[in-house]
Symmetry: C2
């Protein structure tokens, strides 16, 4: 299936995508379900022939598109008629001007929260899965799969149901009951694996290489190069929602690091296409202290990311050996940003701060980005006089346990005015 690109016979057509190219050695391959370079084992990413030369026309085309990520189809590895295919149609989530939070943090240059809890299954995963579904369709896969400990399982199950794929998702057997329900309710196969998340991943890698896994698209393995491109839409939306303008500073959570690198890729594309003015922007990565391999390397001035054993409430970011860690370091340094971390207590405080100021109930990953933003302002690394965008990539309803121990009623009283007066809450 995977041969070098020949001009005359592309294997499949995915809009402006023309090839997979190795991030390390630059070798190119035909579009297909490949995830590692056959020359050097480097990661592959999608290469494009983007519609350059008419930025005004392209902007208008995008603006007249649907209110979801498919408005950016001309910049994504998807067929031109993608908007008509069955999909959860994620994206175009709110970019909330967070004036109350800005006052608390002392930001004067404009603070925005890009709130991806508004996606169909309430996390940014819907974006990446939607692109993977289109790749799966193009490659003739009939089963969608992934290993997951939470958000991704639900996103894959839901997208597969809507798009007419079979799904079979693998989770550690001892997941919390609530997460199991969210993964199972869409009616696909859900398999508990007796072992850790690492065991689940190892098993999935075996399955991909086996005839048992024939016709299976693992969204974050053999469809990963396409899947990852979905995060570019966060960059596109932020700039369009700012009035086709780059933000000065963006704070992005770092798990594998893929999202941060793809947002940077998206911003560079917008500049190259003339859709936004070419001027500097700074990218900041945010981690939980209990799983901070990239921020540790950043602060130590290292290029190499040393794996860690995760121990944090921010489970959606708990990847101890992040594949794109070195690229994150490179982007943060190149753009003049930073990578920072906050501890669990700061994460909970930040979740509550965002809820109290803007009415946005974020997942723990949102507590990480808001907490890191506060810390970066205090340390002087983030300039409060500049336009700043902070990502919230998921919904607090999915991580209730993080805030439950410290969140409850102000008072409990008998149903009488006297009792209410005594509680001192009038006014």
């Amino acid at each position: 299936m995977a041969v070098q690109v020949t001009e005359s016979s592309p294997a499949v057509t995915l809009g402006p995508a023309v090839a997979l190219s190795c991030r390390e050695c630059g070798q190119r391959f035909d579009l297909g379900p490949l995830f590692a370079c056959q020359e050097c084992f480097g990661p592959l990413e999608v290469a494009y022939d983007l519609p350059a030369g008419d930025p005004d026309g392209l902007r208008k085309r995008i603006e007249s598109g649907p209110n979801n990520i498919w408005r950016y189809a001309p910049l994504l590895p998807v067929p031109e008629d993608v908007a008509g295919k069955p999909s959860l149609n994620p994206g175009l989530t709110k970019l909330v001007k967070a004036d109350n939070l800005a006052r608390e943090l002392g930001v004067t240059g404009g603070l925005y929260v890009k709130d991806d809890s508004g996606n169909p299954t309430h996390s940014f995963k819907d974006r990446v899965v939607a692109i993977a579904v289109e790749a799966a369709r193009a490659f003739g896969f009939t089963t969608l799969s992934c290993s997951s400990t939470g958000n991704l399982a639900g996103a894959v199950g839901a997208a597969a149901a809507r798009a007419g794929f079979r799904s079979c998702v693998f989770i550690p057997h001892d997941l919390e009951a609530g997460k199991v329900v969210m993964a199972a309710v869409y009616g696909g196969e859900l398999v508990g694996i007796e072992g850790t998340y690492d065991d689940v991943n190892r098993f999935c890698s075996e399955l991909i290489g086996d005839p048992l896994g024939e016709g299976w698209g693992f969204v974050n393995v053999n469809l990963r190069p396409y899947y990852g491109e979905g995060s570019k839409t966060l960059a596109y939306e932020i700039c369009e929602q700012l009035g086709w303008r780059l933000p000065d500073q963006i704070v992005i959570p770092v798990a594998s690091g893929s999202q941060l690198t793809k947002i940077d890729k998206g911003l560079k594309e917008l500049i190259a296409l003339g859709l936004v003015e070419d001027r500097p922007y700074k990218i900041f990565g945010a981690q939980a202290e209990g799983c901070s391999p990239v921020s540790t390397a950043f602060k130590a001035g290292h290029d190499v990311v040393r794996p860690q054993k995760p121990d944090t409430i921010a489970k959606s970011l708990a990847i101890g050996n992040p594949a794109d860690g070195p690229y994150v370091l490179d982007i943060a340094r190149r753009t003049g940003g930073a990578v920072e971390d906050v501890d669990d207590e700061q994460i909970v405080a930040a979740i509550k701060l965002l809820a109290r100021t803007e009415g946005i109930f974020a997942e723990t990953a949102g507590g990480v980005t808001v907490g890191v933003t506060r810390k970066l302002i205090e340390s002087g690394q983030l300039d409060p006089s500049l336009t700043t965008v902070v990502l919230n990539t998921g919904d607090g309803l999915k991580t209730l346990d993080a805030v439950a121990p410290t969140t409850g009623p102000t008072a409990t009283i008998r149903p009488s005015l006297e009792a209410f007066r005594a509680a001192g809450l009038a006014g």
Copy 2:
């Protein structure tokens, strides 16, 4: 504060709203925090001077408005500049063309799910609360309040936080832990009342009449006439998303009945303004069998709704004595619709059906509407050859308990290909 309307001195300005008018005797009152007619104690609703005479201009104005309910500001009791005020900006949720579900139900005329789980706090309550907030602002209230057992508490807490109001919400003291967290996380006052939900409501009524409650806007009591108008936006959005066309049939959940009556009001306004063609539509009400006072009356041919003691998993619809019940009966009969109910088992089955076919995980209320739709088709009351819209008003993440006992992994296996082969899930 509440005096009869005089042409020259309106108390406040709320866009096209000109008065409160009694639904029973027609008496009019100045806009203010009134909720019952001072002549006959009938319910009050907002009367308008709507922008008639230029449907094309109005359509264009709406279409060029923001991607939320404020695009309909010319038809709502809100100030003209409402879109610039701090709000959660709910609305313009997806109208999902549900072809997979249609196939399962045998609907050939086009089946759509209006999915309000996409609102900021993931229920339709964000719509009604957003309007109440603007009324509270206009009347000079500083505290937002409500009694609640779930969705509403979170919607009020979040909206108040963002809009800069103090909030104080009352709940029964023995609510489930998860619901308490969702209500408390936005940082407002949350008061547990030792008693039932009825006790909470009685206490709130006392508080409104007491100096202790001065400056308090109870969104669903003294702001209720404004609050209720928020549901009209569901009608506006459905028609606009259908290409400015009325659906033939709509299936709406019935708790107090307010939402159904306001959707009917909204549709009639669109017809009167010439925004949609004037042709018949049928409105269907959906209840849970365990709390079915309105469907019981409908099926018995009664005009009077006899109160029931609720016992159903559809807690967000569990209002045993629905204030707008008689109006619901009237609308269902006038439009040629019906009111029907389904039992808890059918509700769970319908939640799973919607999830499995469209990737939408609905709250129990969504299980009620989908289940009732199926039942109405089977009984021949709903015509499958006509365009049908089914409402999902909330998110399954909030009622995990309903599906948890019957939703789990397909299999649990050791991490080996052999074990996977034995489980029979390949293919």
